[in-house]
Symmetry: C2
Subunit: 198 residues, 2 copies
DNA sequence: GTCTATACACCGATAGAC
DNA sequence: GTCTATCGGTGTATAGAC
């Protein structure tokens, strides 16, 4: 068989790599650990990927797209703008609580990418995706609540991404649900004030 | 000489380790790289520390205390509460801009600590210190601006720490100064609304 | 106490049998 | 195409000369 098995193999290895990074961190995600998780031999790895770095690159890029649905999903059309945004943030928070290791893995992959000039663009692209997704949600939220952004929505989106990151990181450290919900509430309030009610 | 040289050696190694982590990331902070940075031999390392992990633990704890001054310094007594807080956040942001690698190193050390049960408490302690420091600043800020916190100041402090982290992480990725300043402004606005003016 | 030399485990990557 | 066996390199840690 020519190419499709190789692609499936790559996919299986990327999935296995994500599981290993989630469970044990990127430092422990050696090629050996990854092929063990995927139930393959070491040589099969290098048949599918030229190097470990190549797999990590693919892991970073593919994993971002996969998570797009969960991070900022459909907004509930009840309430004013702040409430709509807060509901979105709380929904993300529940996603974080249900799979903390996954978000921890995402943070580690980001910081890993920041450490090499060749991979830094991957992190930039990753955050651009986040911001793009947040922007669309914010525009829908403003539409639902009958408001208009005073600041460009793209910039508001960056603020929202920053708040989400801060919530994630601090919660991963202290696991304080109340504090996280307070962050969500305060962040939603702050972001909503960047819009005018029509 | 008996003990003081050993302590000085430990200090020199911790300093060297921080420089290596800042420049190249924790993954590259091998014992070899650290002793090279400190100008020592490999054996000298294990005379001062039982293991690499022991040094990393000491690095995490000592480095937190050192940075306390810079993170949230004296507040300027002009303006209302939001302005006072924003000035503090912007001051932190200038600190971040002046030495990005140091803050990146702090984030990496935190995430490193999160990955092992024995070290997780170090991260908790680290963030407790941050929160404690932020709490004192917030109380002084409320005093200056003539306001009272509706929510316990300790909880407000956690929100502020989360916002600071989010600002740090997103700026390290995109290096967008305007976006970071917008985050600072929005965060200061949000946090200030958790207080009542007297 | 401080060095050089080295033990031993594990890393990424590859050769070569099948 | 897929495996086992292995290479060359580097990691942490230590032994032993000085």
């Amino acid at each position: 068989m020519s190419r499709i098995p190789a692609l499936e193999r790559r996919r299986a290895l990327v999935d296995a790599a994500l599981r290993v990074v989630s469970r044990h961190g990127i430092a422990q995600a050696t090629t050996r650990a990854i092929v063990a998780e995927a139930g393959m031999s070491l040589a099969s790895f290098h048949y599918a990927f030229a190097s470990r770095d190549e797999l990590i690159d693919e892991l970073i890029t593919t994993v971002v797209g996969r998570e797009q649905q969960a991070v900022l999903p459909e907004l509930v059309p009840d309430g004013d703008l702040a409430e709509v945004i807060e509901a979105g943030l709380l929904r993300y928070f529940e996603h974080l609580r249900s799979d903390p290791e996954h978000e921890q893995a995402m943070l580690e992959l980001t910081q890993y990418a920041l450490r090499s000039p060749e991979r830094h663009p991957l992190a930039v692209q990753q955050y651009a995706r986040y911001a793009e997704l947040a922007e669309r949600s914010l525009e829908r939220a403003a539409g639902l609540a009958g408001a208009d952004w005073r600041v460009p929505a793209a910039q508001v989106a960056r603020v929202l991404v920053a708040f989400t990151d801060g919530l994630t990181l601090t919660w991963l450290v202290d696991r304080d649900d109340d504090a996280a919900r307070l962050v969500a509430h305060a962040a939603a309030d702050a972001v909503s004030r960047l819009a005018d009610v029509r």
